[in-house]
């Protein structure tokens, strides 16, 4: 197999320029990246500092340095809202939706990228067109469908995590398919054709050759699927109940009829986001591993 691989592919590397960068570039880089980091981190700083203030201070004039520091909000968040339960729900829903969505998208993208068949364009365009209808108008019809499925088959999609997983995995499918078609197209066909010649079935060629070569794309798409499910508010608010409520909806519980517990909202958001950011950090390696690492063994 390696004999059929073009030698140049192995030479790809993560670093771009073999040439030393000029000073103008280095300075631009420093300044621009600093500004961007500032923009990104400003609200994060506000969240951190507000989460350490007592409620009276948070709802008063903004102070850069909190005058009174307290870690109470970090204890209160668990009392006000069943945060741990929501977190687990969100993990289950977003995790399952991601795995299923990416798997299905890989199959579809492979079909579109590697085969000619009738209806290909209809498929890609229809899939894309689903992104053009405002989501809120899906809500009631989808709810009706779920209830009807439940009534006629006994499969409880409404109010269950399963229904939400199904919904979210479909939400992220269109973009995942489109994006993966692009990535697969950019993988030289010689690779999987070689595998086919070697006697692999098409599915094995997909998993042994194409998928490893497309790892950065797949990871990027997975992150996207996960975040789509993680952050969605509207459908979750209607399709879940007490037991299956997800985080994004649950966080609104810190804003009650008469009070908004600003410090607790911020503390809770930080607590639940830390694992996600850590997950991103771990995934980074694969995101930038590049084709060289995965494609040719």
């Amino acid at each position: 197999m390696s004999s059929l691989t073009r030698p140049t592919r192995a030479a790809r590397s993560r670093a771009r320029s073999p040439m030393a960068a000029p000073q103008s570039f280095l300075w631009t880089r420093r300044i621009v990246l600093t500004l961007l980091a500032g923009f990104v981190l400003l609200p994060v700083y506000v969240m951190v500092s507000s989460s350490l203030k007592p409620l009276q201070d948070v709802s008063g004039k903004f102070q850069w340095i909190p005058s009174t520091l307290t870690i109470r909000p970090y204890f209160d968040i668990w009392e006000t809202v069943p945060l741990a339960k929501y977190f687990v729900n969100s993990l289950i829903v977003a995790g399952s939706a991601t795995v299923l969505s990416v798997t299905i998208a890989v199959f579809s993208a492979y079909a579109v990228s590697r085969y000619r068949f009738r209806g290909k364009r209809v498929f890609t365009v229809t899939v894309l067109s689903t992104q053009m209808f405002p989501g809120i108008l899906f809500l009631l019809p989808l709810f009706l469908i779920f209830v009807n499925i439940g009534n006629s088959t006994g499969v409880a999609l409404y109010g269950s995590r399963g229904g939400l997983i199904l919904t979210y995995l479909t939400f992220s499918l269109p973009f995942s398919i489109w994006m993966l078609i692009g990535y697969f197209d950019s993988i030289p066909r010689d690779l999987d054709e070689a595998a086919l010649v070697d006697g692999c079935g098409p599915v094995r060629a997909l998993f042994q050759v194409v998928v490893p070569a497309a790892v950065p794309g797949i990871v990027a798409v997975s992150v996207y699927s996960f975040m789509t499910a993680w952050g969605e508010v509207l459908f979750a608010s209607v399709m879940t109940n007490d037991a299956t409520r997800t985080l994004s909806v649950g966080l609104q519980g810190y804003a009650t009829q008469n009070d908004v517990y600003w410090n607790q909202v911020m503390a809770a958001s930080l607590v639940v986001s830390v694992p996600i950011v850590v997950g991103f950090l771990l995934l980074q390696r694969y995101l930038v591993a590049g084709l060289t690492a995965g494609a040719v063994k």
Binding site: R14, T124, P141, V233, I276
Partner: protein, 337 residues
Amino acid sequence: MTATVTTDPEVDKSTGTGTSRGTGGARRRLPRIPDRIRQGGLPYLLLLPAVLLELLIHIIPMVIGIVMSFRQLTQFFINNWGAAPWTGLDNYSIAVDFDAPIGEALLHSFLVTCVFTFFSVGLAWLFGVTAAILLQENFRGRGFLRAVFLVPYALPVYAAVITWAFMFQRDNGLINHVLHDQLGITDEPSFWLIGDNSIYTLIIVSVWKGWPFAFLMLMAGLQNIPRELYEAASIDGAGIWQQIRRITLPSLRPVNQVLVLVLFLWTFNDFNTPYVLFGKSAPESADLISIHIYQSSFVTWNFGTGSAMSVLLLLLLLVVTAVYLFLTSRGRKGSDV
């Protein structure tokens, strides 16, 4: 299955901007796989799960939405949809009667959404591509920055947007604290959540939340650019700026084509950001179409009119998308049947 492996010396399609060749040459190629791999049903089998799910979750609800748009689906009928009277095109004529307040408001909201989408997508893409390129090469702190830039993406939407709303408060927020109290740029503390400034607030928050996604996708896209292109360019004497302009940006084209399109569609239909920022009723200057449709359906219990507006929006976006795809893929038409 008559597999004949055609080994092609050319670089693959997406990175088809060879150093010596012009941009057009490599892209304008016929599909590489001939009819030989026509294993009957296999491609359909591969597509089946996606097709079924799309039908169930997207297409059928969409069609129901279209059906709803021809009915008078108000609070009197939502308990029994079948009984809702058919109204023909009434819902549509209400929506497009631009002289009457409902149509006028819809048109206004549409224009606001266009402006918002243009700036939001433009800036998100610009930030994303800048950061991706600047982080392409290894240097100290690169991994840290890459993680930092993804933070807005990792925060739950509600938490992020409510924090911005908190910062944009007139009397107690950070923004006015800096602009008015500390820098003295404004004479009076300005309003950011009501009135004419709201559109800026909306764009800022939307860009903050949206650009990491562009960054993520473009970063992954950059991994596909073969190093030898840069090597060859640098031997030709191209400086780093020229390399970016001549190699990096053109090579990102396939990623950009999809990225800009979906950013456009999502931003255009974004509901969460304005909803958390402004609540049920957005200020006139930031009255996005999604909020407008929400108001015209959920808040006022009139799903017929809301659906009609959605269908109009769908048609419009279909046209825009078709034109966009036509324009951007003219050079690659051969490749996707």
